[in-house]
Amino acid sequence: MPDLVTHLCAALLPAGLLRRIPVAEFAVGAVLPDVASRVPSIALELLRRGGVPIHEGISHPISVIHTPLGAGALAILTAELLAPELRARGRRWILAGVAVHFALDLAQDHDGNGYYVLFPLSTWDWEAALISSEATVSLAPWLAGITALVWGWRWWRRRPSEPPTADGPPPSA
C-alpha cells in the first residue's frame, strides 16, 4: 500500500482545487481501507510478535476490508454514520474515495503479489505494477507540501476582506 500521507493527499488535493467535492467524505473514503484494515492488522501483528497469543483467524477477516468489494461494503456502512439527509451524497463520495485508494494501490508493484481485486468472487490477484511499492516515500513529503499550499491558497482567497467592526458592517463603496 502507499503510505497514508499519500492516500490522504490524493483526496485533499483535488478537494482543495474543486469546491464541489465534499472533502471529509472523500478523504474518509481514501484512507478507509487502510485505517480499517491495515492499521488493525499491523497492530495485531506487533502484539503477536510481542508474545500476545492472538489467533490468525482474528486478523484474516479484517483483511477483507482491504479488497475493493469489502471496502465498498464498509463505505456503505460508514455513510450510515452521517445524518439521513447527507447519507446518499456521502455514500457516493466515500465510495469515490475508496476508488481513488485502490487506484493508487493497484499502481504499485509488489513483486508479483497483487491484490485480490474480485474477492470473495475470486482469489485471482492483480496489480498494474507501474511504480515501486516504496516510491511514495520520497514523493509523500512533496505531495503534502503541495496539498498544504493549495489549502493555504484556498483559505487565503476565502478569508474575509475586512473584519467587522463594533459599529456594524463596513460601509459599501
Partner: protein, 147 residues
Amino acid sequence: MSRRLLPLGALLFLVGSGGWWDYLMLSRQVGTTGVLAHRHEHVGERLALSLGEVRQVRAPDRYLVVQSSDRVYEVRGDTSAVREGEVVTVGVEIAPDGALRALWVREHPDRVGKFALGIAGLLAFFGLLPVWYRWTPGGLRHRGDHA
C-alpha cells in the same frame, strides 16, 4: 425499503466474506519447514515472499524468512545476498523436492520511512476530522444544522 436493506446487506457481505477469507487462509496454512503447503503452488512455479524478515542464516546456502509467526520459509540461496534482521522480498522457485530456491532478493530500505509516513497520515487524518466537522464553514455540523 431498499435503502434500509443496503447497510444490512453490506454488513452481511462483510461478515460472510470475512469468514470465507478466514477459511481460505487457514486451509492454506504454511508449515515451518520451508515447504510451501498453501495456495496450491506447483513445482517450477515462481512467486515472491513479500516483506519478510531474514531471521536466521542456517547454513551456507540456507536462511529463514519470517513473514509472521506462522509464515516461516526456509529459502535455499546465496546467503551473502542477505543479512539477519533485514526486511526483504525474495523471489523463489519451487523445486521438485518442495524446497524454495531463491532467484532474487530485494531489500526494503524505506520501510521505516513508510511506517513514519503511516503514523503521520493517521495523526493528520484524525486531527483533521474534528476540525472539519466543527469549525469549517462547510463542515458536517453546519450542514446538518441547515438541513
